[in-house]
Subunit: 268 residues, 4 copies
């Protein structure tokens, strides 16, 4: 396998589908919130994406070998259908991120998607207001937005997204930004929806996930109950942390070990 590959079990016929993406990233906001939605809506898996730009290790789920992947699910909504993309990881380098993003957009277009919404986190560097914990309002994370085109922002204004702050923030690293930035070149419109989380070190943040979910559901017209989200975040926190540790460890193992003195002689 020397290229990113999408393997489709059965391609669904969809009506005006929107692609919603939640991959691991800052505060795990995207992965937690979209993963929760997929589960609550009982969305159906129909394709898997594998890439030589994902790490070359497998995880063990019980006794089954799990190659790192992203997964496509669909959900039939009232007005429009939804394609969800969630997964274990993003590509590990810039070239891989471009290749994977390109494949995802090509595939989404084939499925009929003309709209891409990516979910991510936004590290403000300040302790979250939730830490104060005095009143319930303090728990509310801001949700900021950025779009593929100034005209597109107007379409989303009614959903209570803060487009003003985006200009103050510098940059979005990885698939969350790239998929929206490149959507324009694929003839789609795109929106990044970013929930504010605490600064480094990153802790999975249920408030940010809840805040983006509330807005996302308005956009895609779904009505999943978010009351179990906080419990779910707590439950998944350890797994996600372990996963992160494994990736870090794998990176360490790829590096050359300290050499020991030797009498080898080299020629060249």
């Amino acid at each position: 396998m020397n290229e990113t590959k999408i393997i489709t079990k059965e391609k669904p016929a969809l009506k005006s589908p929107v692609l919603v993406v939640g991959l691991p990233g800052i505060g795990n906001v995207g992965r937690m919130s979209v993963g929760y939605l997929v589960h609550e809506l009982k969305a159906k898996k129909f394709a898997e994406l594998y890439s030589p730009y994902f790490f070359h290790f497998v995880m063990l789920n019980e006794e089954v070998v799990h190659v790192l992947r992203n997964e496509f699910y669909f959900y039939r909504g009232k007005e429009k259908d939804v394609v969800f993309l969630i997964g274990d990881c993003q590509a590990y380098d810039p070239k891989g991120n471009y290749e994977v993003a390109g494949k995802i957009l090509d595939y989404a277009k084939e499925l009929g998607c003309r709209e891409v919404v990516t979910i991510g986190g936004f590290a403000s560097g300040k302790p979250l207001q939730a830490e104060n914990g005095k009143n319930s309002d303090a728990k509310k994370s801001r949700v900021i937005g950025a779009t593929s085109d100034a005209k597109v922002s107007k379409d989303y204004e009614k959903f209570g997204i803060d487009f003003k702050i985006a200009g103050e923030v510098g940059t979005i690293v990885g698939a969350t930004g790239l998929l929206v930035g490149l959507s324009r070149l694929h003839g789609m419109k795109g929106l990044c929806l970013l929930g504010e989380t605490a600064g480094f070190p990153i802790i999975t943040d249920p408030n940010a996930a809840e805040a983006v979910l509330n807005i996302l559901q308005k956009i895609i017209g779904t009505g999943a109950n978010v009351s179990k989200l906080h419990g779910k975040v707590k439950e998944m926190h350890d797994l996600l942390r372990k996963m992160e540790d494994i990736q870090r460890e794998a990176l360490e193992q790829m590096k050359p070990k300290p050499k020991k003195p030797d009498d080898l002689r080299y020629i060249g």
Copy 2:
């Protein structure tokens, strides 16, 4: 050469062959045990795999230049034939591991293989029981398994593989896991067979090799005598260690040397 290439001397006609893979890795369990079997069964070499994702140095065997490679051997069994894959190295980066694994599985499928068994080590981090050395039972390494699919595990249960422990272990790095994880996408079934060895630093471990060989031979139906294994491990230990040192050294040499002050002026 900008892609992994398999060069076939003469493609054998095989009956229901199983692919058995033993490449360098933790404790050299895979390489030692499968290499021993190839030698004892007098399996016949029929193809070589070269890759731009292997290191760019050659070894000298006597006065002959040896480019790093993997090698395919076949053995005609009573019930089913066996294709063995052994070699000098694995690919040095994630992208290379995916490319090489993909080429191996494509080739195995062409040969008629529908089953892949990879052999590796499993570093428990504990001193091996063998160190106690009181009774022969203490020498026995555990062999754990992981498969491409929960249903596949059932097929292998009768061979005394410990599938329970796999869930406790996090991850398998490199070809051993990737070949089994990707086998499902090639319409094959796969099994990782992992012998427990001591923790870091890694020492070639004859007990782990013997334990996996005993189970592997039951699976593939071969009857090689394993009595010479301990001697062979000792004999090959120094060569394998030297090989590891060379690779580490080569990695070091690829890095930029410390710069010396200079009056060079740069433009750009």
Copy 3:
């Protein structure tokens, strides 16, 4: 996207166009001076270049997601037309630089260009004479040249470029040199025009930008007013610096974070 891509809005018909390139680099001389010219001449954008060898992050311009890119503009001159190439970045590694340079030259040839002029900086390592600030002459930066061919240098001699010093200087890193060096293989002639700037650390240098602009305008026959250049450099300085910081930060983030002790056990 696994290859550099140029997306053309509308391909202009041009008469004997010359390609003028100003990308970020030492002292930001190329980017500042060519960017200024594009703005002053109201050159018209007609194509964008995207590459998997650019960083995988996006910038936010107001609330719009901006994928890193290079941009092609054209300007209709009296004698000959000009194609300008400016942009956010250069490729982040050697292979990417070669790929991007090749795509640019192929495209320029398609547009009819037979001449390439790249603008860059040249860090002399000495404090700039401008620091003395006594007389206006002291502010003048030297402009040195290097060409694709000794015969080509003769064509440019009349413009007051210092070709003598080039031999003293070692090397030009990145697109500025590569585009000129490879232009010969594309049947074009090429010129690097390099303005002297202070040594490391690099500060955007309006004097160098002005000096190269004066010569460049003679070569391409344009007559833009350069009086607003110093103000513009000051205005853009902070943006460019921030951009550099973001890229450095992005590089830092790509590196594995320090691992924390863990009870993970590995198999392979």
Copy 4:
């Protein structure tokens, strides 16, 4: 340019040509000796090799931009013709080395070559006997050989090459070994000819160059005068050292610079 490219000015018709390769490496033995021979024999350049796996900087020769390259020359001998390959550099990573070596061998085969001789250095780690300087014999460097095949070694035995020592030496890094190791897969025979030089740090070594030249000339049947070699080595020493420094510096410049504290906020 996203692949190694060979640009032929005019393909010569050659009779049983042998390919002789001398690229930069340990002690610069290959580059010095073959470069000297090309010059003395007035061999004629007929092709250039460029690669995205060479560094992305250009050198300035006087005022002309020089992209890093390898160059093919031919020389019409009495019995057989010779194709020489010399150049500025080798590829900077393993994948690049495999790609470049593959292109060279494909091209050599097209030219009719059935024999490849690569010249390199061999760092013994001991001070050279020449340092003793008592008698002229002490100045003589050993020349060791390694071949693509045990049978091939017999063909070269008569030339006074030491094939016995090769077994003691571990490995050959880069093109010198790879071209010979891969020659077998291209249906050619290959020989590495390695002159012993002092250990690290590497100093260009005229004795090693002279020793390999004496044997090489017997193999290819040329009769160039080697009396000017020592002077030439001294003359080129500074240039080669500067070139090495530039490459080291370029590598350093590719690394991310130390970041400065900043108030940037990141989202992803």
